[in-house]
């Protein structure tokens, strides 16, 4: 038991994102916590919950655009992660592994909602009218939700992972299961669409 926490043994894969880990203790990495949980210290999982629930809630909120769904998706994510913890391999960061679960939960939830909602394929004109100048308040924040909602979910997802959660394209490929060229295209299209939708807000 003595050498359990020797830093020299730790893989270099643990990544620190200041936004994701406001209270990060450099001495205890995520991989170490996972090992502690699997070793029988369930309370170590609480630390992982504390470290990652802000980032998970943020991504889920921006993807699902309502708090109840975001809370459900995030809760399901942590429960699934806990049950599958023995399958985590530190070839990926815990962050990446957890986000893979979260992205899948969000996709399930969106697919569920689509099944129930009237399925309307948005066309560009309808979307433009949805953010018609007369409805705009001129505030970026107010328009952002609508602009995000108007993105196809794959583009929304790629944009959030790249420009909000700050994942590398390699990490995004693991999290989404998509290939890097496709991801780059989704991000590019999302940026172009958001730019054009919101330029009207700023100029107004």
């Amino acid at each position: 038991m003595a050498a359990r926490h020797s830093p020299a043994d730790e893989p270099s894969a643990d990544r620190v994102t200041p936004r994701a880990h406001p209270g990060f203790n450099a001495q205890v990495t995520d991989a170490m916590l996972v090992r502690e949980v699997l070793g029988g210290d369930r309370r170590a999982f609480t630390t992982l919950v504390e470290r990652f629930s802000p980032a998970c809630m943020r991504l889920a909120m921006r993807m699902l655009l309502n708090r109840q769904d975001a809370e459900d998706a995030t809760q399901e994510t942590f429960v699934r992660a806990y049950r599958a913890l023995h399958r985590y391999r530190d070839t990926d960061t815990f962050h990446t592994w957890l986000f893979q679960i979260l992205v899948n939960r969000c996709r399930s939830m969106l697919a569920r909602e689509r099944r129930w909602a009237m399925l309307v394929v948005p066309d560009d004109r309808a979307l433009e009218q949805a953010v018609a100048p007369r409805q705009q308040t001129g505030e970026l924040r107010d328009e952002l939700g609508r602009a995000l909602a108007s993105l196809p979910t794959e583009q929304r997802e790629a944009f959030l992972l790249k420009h909000v959660e700050m994942l590398s394209y390699k990490e995004m490929a693991v999290v989404t299961g998509a290939r890097i060229p496709a991801l780059k295209m989704r991000v590019k299209r999302a940026c172009e669409r958001l730019q054009s939708l919101l330029e009207e807000v700023v100029d107004a």
Partner: protein, 194 residues
């Protein structure tokens, strides 16, 4: 050629969307409560789980799963014995002593929750039976004793609960803890089926 992703507009959008989203304490309590009853799998060891699927809507389903796996009398006695040095649990049945149930019974029992908090302005009961929503079950204050009370009808079985006192989540100080290893921060009550 500048990358579209680095335009000032995109940077402004990123900054706005990177704003933290508050994590509700009640949400956290509900998650820890669910984790406390979830078996951790280890390599080569297959554990029996409280439920084979994770369905969070409604949370009542999770509570029913928890109630179903309730324990034999021996383990229940253990839960109460651990707190033998304390007072009787603040949550008690109006009729009689607390007896464990194997669930399945449909009749509900009336349970009174009491919390001594004379300085509090607002106390609510949250738990698996009301989706941890502090807006649903406020307690009433007795001006003479400073005690807060509410009677609630609960289905038989094991329930996990806590109080929200002026916005802070507080476990029932006199009740058994929710899990033998204190993984959860909540309290547990067993409701009999008789």
């Amino acid at each position: 050629m500048p990358d579209a992703g680095e335009s000032p507009m995109i940077q402004a959008i990123s900054r706005e969307l990177a704003e933290p989203v508050p994590v509700r304490e009640e949400w956290r309590a509900a998650l820890l409560s669910e984790l406390a009853t979830t078996e951790l799998r280890r390599e080569g060891f297959v554990a029996r789980l409280a439920g084979s699927s994770i369905r969070l809507r409604p949370l009542v389903a999770a509570a029913a799963a928890i109630a179903f796996t309730v324990f034999g009398a021996g383990v229940t006695a253990l839960v109460l014995l651990r707190d033998g040095a304390r007072n009787l649990p603040a949550a008690r049945e109006v009729a009689a002593s607390i007896v464990p149930s194997y669930g399945g019974a449909t009749s509900q029992r009336e349970v009174e929750f009491v919390l001594s908090a004379p300085m509090a302005r607002h106390v609510a009961l949250v738990g698996d039976f009301n989706r941890w929503d502090p807006a649903l079950v406020p307690l009433s204050r007795d001006p003479e004793t400073g005690e807060w009370r509410i009677a609630v009808r609960l289905p038989p079985g094991r329930h996990v609960y806590a109080f929200v006192v002026d916005g802070d989540l507080v476990a029932d100080p006199t009740a058994a803890r929710a899990a033998a290893d204190d993984f959860g921060q909540n309290s547990v009550i067993m409701v009999s089926s008789r």
